[in-house]
């Protein structure tokens, strides 16, 4: 069996929404280069809807695919829906990830939530129910000297 599902390979080979949004309404960055994964999400929000989303990722195939899938899942969605994105939903939409790669989907969820929090901070509003991730996505990051 191949390491990755067809879906993962498709999103890795042809990642959706790669790039940068100038003057983004919210930016979220998670991970660190030491661990080999960094994801950065840019949001354009209009009338409480994710009008546009872009990502940049330094990482393995599943990190790139998870970023791509996560952006697809929230694009065009109301902020209230985007807030509910879970790593599980990202992994399921990719037809699963190998166990040792699940942290890539966690990073994608965290990056999007961080970007939403950044948006809320910039607007001076509170997004009720948005729970920011605990920094536990990558066991190697936690407690490791950077």
């Amino acid at each position: 069996m191949a390491l990755y599902s067809e879906k993962v390979m498709d999103h890795f080979r042809h990642p959706r929404n790669v790039g940068v949004i100038e003057n983004a309404d919210g930016i979220g960055e998670v991970g660190n280069a030491r661990c080999g994964d960094i994801m950065k999400i840019y949001l354009k929000i209009e009338n409480n809807v994710i009008a546009d989303v872009k990502f940049e990722t330094f990482g393995c195939g599943s990190a790139i695919a998870s970023s791509s899938m996560a952006t697809e899942l929230i694009k065009g969605q109301p902020v209230s829906e985007a807030m509910k994105l879970t790593n599980k939903a990202v992994a399921e939409a990719l037809d699963g990830l190998p166990a040792h790669k699940l942290h890539c989907s966690v990073l994608a969820e965290e990056a999007i939530k961080k970007a939403l929090q950044d948006y809320a901070d910039k607007q001076g509003v509170e997004l009720e129910g948005l729970c920011l991730p605990e920094e536990t996505a990558c066991p190697a990051c936690c407690g490791a000297p950077v």
Binding site: F12, R34, G36, D37, F58, G59, C60, H100, P139, A140
Partner: protein, 396 residues
Amino acid sequence: MHVYLDNAATTKVSTAAFRAMEPYFTEQYGNPSSLYAFGQKAHEAITEARERIATLLHCEPREITFTSGGSEADTQAIRSAAQWGAKRGKRHIVSTKFEHHAVLHTLESLQKEGFTVTLIDVHEDGIVRPEEVAAAIQEDTCLVSVMTANNEIGTIQPVEEIGKICREKGVLFHTDAVQAVGHIPMDVKKQQIDFLSLSAHKFHGPKGVGALIARKDIPLLSIIEGGAQERGRRAGTENVPAIVGMAEALEEACRKLEENGQKMAALRDRLTQGLLQIPHSVLNGDAEKRLPGHVNVCFEGIEGESLLLLLDEKGICASSGSACTSGSLEPSHVLLAIGRPHEIAHGSLRLTLSEETTPQEIDYTVEAVTQVVQYLRGMSPVWRDLVNGKQPFVIQ
């Protein structure tokens, strides 16, 4: 185009080795331990293979123990030396930071059993300094284990000098020569090696077979218990076809060693030069003292697993020291040992040639790697920060 550039991982079985093995599957399939003539035919084949390998590596036939491969040979060598040392009250071992895990993990086990271990530095060029080996040897040192050539970066170690130091100091010397045998000249006597590990599938022999060469006056510890095969040093019915194939492959590799080495080194240098045209890339390990077919380069701002997957799409088989390719969260211990920071070690690419590699394949690979690195950098937030000056480049 299908380009196989992972010959340090494994090689294609040579036609000669394959042909030599064939009769031992369906015709001469007897058990070498059986008394009847049919079994003795198989026994003779093993004896002949042992003699051929002994001649090629300059040891005595009885100093060769056939194993399942390099990892088993490493484990048996180190455990035997440890037993030898323990009997003499010597429980200290000197090795290096960039040994294969078969060596490092065995040493970790021995530490739990009361041995102490000194892992010496391998420097930025990936070369062990003999004087540092000498300085690390203590009164109670029983063994020095230094690989002949590193499996990830291909650097060749001063084995003969280390062998001399160990002999003078009365310390056993083991070398993991898995990457070296069949690729560079090896002479167990001249290099004063007490234990040497080798693996057939690294020189166009079959997988699952290797050998431990051990000086005849050092008793070997049997790590697989059972019958009296290999004069009681390794139980289990011998893998007759594989042993025959290994001898055939080694003979061919040694016969063509110089010719193949020159050919591969020229292509290796062409590949290295091409890859180093990519901005912010660096060769890992000394440029000269390295195996003829070994290239290992780090590219700043990208991660190795995505690089490998995209090269696979282009038909290129390669490997990387990134954490994601190892199944662990740490990047290659070898790249860390030569001083590469974690974020740089994640972006490594190992390409290893064979004598069948063509200039066309090399040029195709340089072009493909250049494209893929550029593409991945285009979506990397790390690269963006480097280019925008938010972070300083590590590789100039």
